[in-house]
């Protein structure tokens, strides 16, 4: 059971996701980091597919790999696109960091191992797009609408910021 195809695929995807994350931290060029991040996002989408959550997988790729990454690349290129981050070194810092990572790992290993998931209804994977839609628009309609208000506020904020810049430049001229 352990070496089933699902297990192998999961290990592969998990490996790519973790490697993407590690590369993202260790690479020096900003654009390389973003590309590493894309690999993480895509393999997480693959893990969603393994869990039969196809809608979330598609949205994960659409939003994270598609939109968020492009916006990050835009941000990088509009500022200093050849920027490199300098690795900061320091022995004490490294040791403390290693201990912190180790502690984090241990705590999460124990925590995840002791979690007892109650057996939920196992029809969630059937028509999950429809189920998500029904849940969002009937049971969770108010939080959903609140999210859209927050997004609207962010949008208007961005427009206000962009507009003000324009006017100031015009005043200077």
């Amino acid at each position: 059971m352990i070496f089933s195809g699902e297990f192998l695929i999961f290990m592969l995807l998990a490996l790519i996701a973790v490697m993407g994350g590690v590369l993202m931290i260790n690479l020096t060029k900003v654009v390389h980091m973003v590309v590493a991040l894309v690999f993480t996002f895509v393999s997480i989408a693959g893990i969603f597919v393994l869990l039969s959550a196809e809608f979330i997988a598609a949205v994960q790729i659409l939003i994270y790999s598609g939109a968020v990454t492009i916006i990050m690349l835009f941000g990088i290129m509009l500022t200093r696109h050849n920027d490199e981050s300098e690795p900061k070194t320091g022995r004490l810092r490294k040791i403390l960091l290693f201990l912190g990572v180790l502690g984090f790992g241990v705590v999460f290993y124990i925590g995840v191992y002791n979690v007892d998931f109650p057996q939920a209804a196992n029809t969630l994977h059937e028509n999950n797009t429809e189920q998500i839609g029904i849940a969002l628009y009937s049971k969770y309609i108010i939080p959903f609408e609140l999210t859209s208000v927050i997004l609207l506020v962010a949008l208007i904020g961005a427009i206000v910021l962009a507009k003000r810049d324009d006017q100031e430049e015009a005043d200077k001229e």
Binding site: V31, S65, A67, N128
Partner: protein
Amino acid sequence: MMEGLLAAEASWLNFGIFFLLAVVLLFVVLGFVTYAILAERKVMGFMQLRYGPNQVGGRFGLLQTVADVLKLLIKEDTIPKLADRPLFILAPVIAFTPAFMVLAVIPFTDKFYFADIGVGLLYYIAISGLTTIGIVTGGWASNNKYALMGGMRAAAQMISYEIPLVMSVIGIILLTGSLNLNDIVEAQKNGWFIIWQPIAFIVFLIAAVAELNRVPFDLPEAESELVAGFHVEYSGFRWAFFMLAEYVYMFAMASLITVIFLGGWLPLPFLGFIPGAVWFALKFTVVIFILIWFRVTFPRIRADQLMEFGWKVLLPVALANIFLTAILKELLNIF
């Protein structure tokens, strides 16, 4: 045939069959690309009152593209000294892979499809967004200002036109109640969606041309302003991969338009004796012809006009179409 295979238990034999079918599809698509390029040059030639390729491979230039591709493959592979080497090599791969991946969900006929997933339409749109990353990284890795500008334009354009593209199909999803492309075709039994959703069709067609980076929306590679845009520094088979990605997307997008708006493999009334594959091929060819026709007849639009048109015209029209569809569906209850 495919239903049985898709439902069967996963095994090495099953994997082998799918792998083989995918390889066959790859070669079919490569054949399509070869002759689509020739067809494009021929149609353009006739529309501009010239002959187009007519030397290599007989009177119709049937081997012209083959010769061109052969030339590209044996060309020297140059990588600029100051380019970002790993990304420069990776970018064409990132651009091409999603182009082939999207073909998995397209149902060609009622018996021949590769995947029957519930979110087919969303899958197509999500995966096709990945190509933009390949184009932007290619433009950036070339370390060339024209390439970078082309890449940025591509990103801005693809993000802007993806939104009307998605919004225009929401009307169809409302009518069908499914994102599955097979179900969408089945729902067109009593009238193709080009009849029920004409506004959506026009918005989708315009946004699709923009997504394909074809004239009149070919700003990322506008040769008169940016030399060649994001692939200035590419040559040989790496450049061929970018071109291949573009034409495979043309194949995929034409198939998608056929499936969503033109009823896929469904026949016209009283002509049901003609097999579904023939119908699909006919509709597909018409869409390809329209795409080539656009390229010959329209001038390229300016970057600011492009953005204004996308956000101020296409998006509101697509939103109005959703609103209208919802009202009609609720009030008239015709579906």
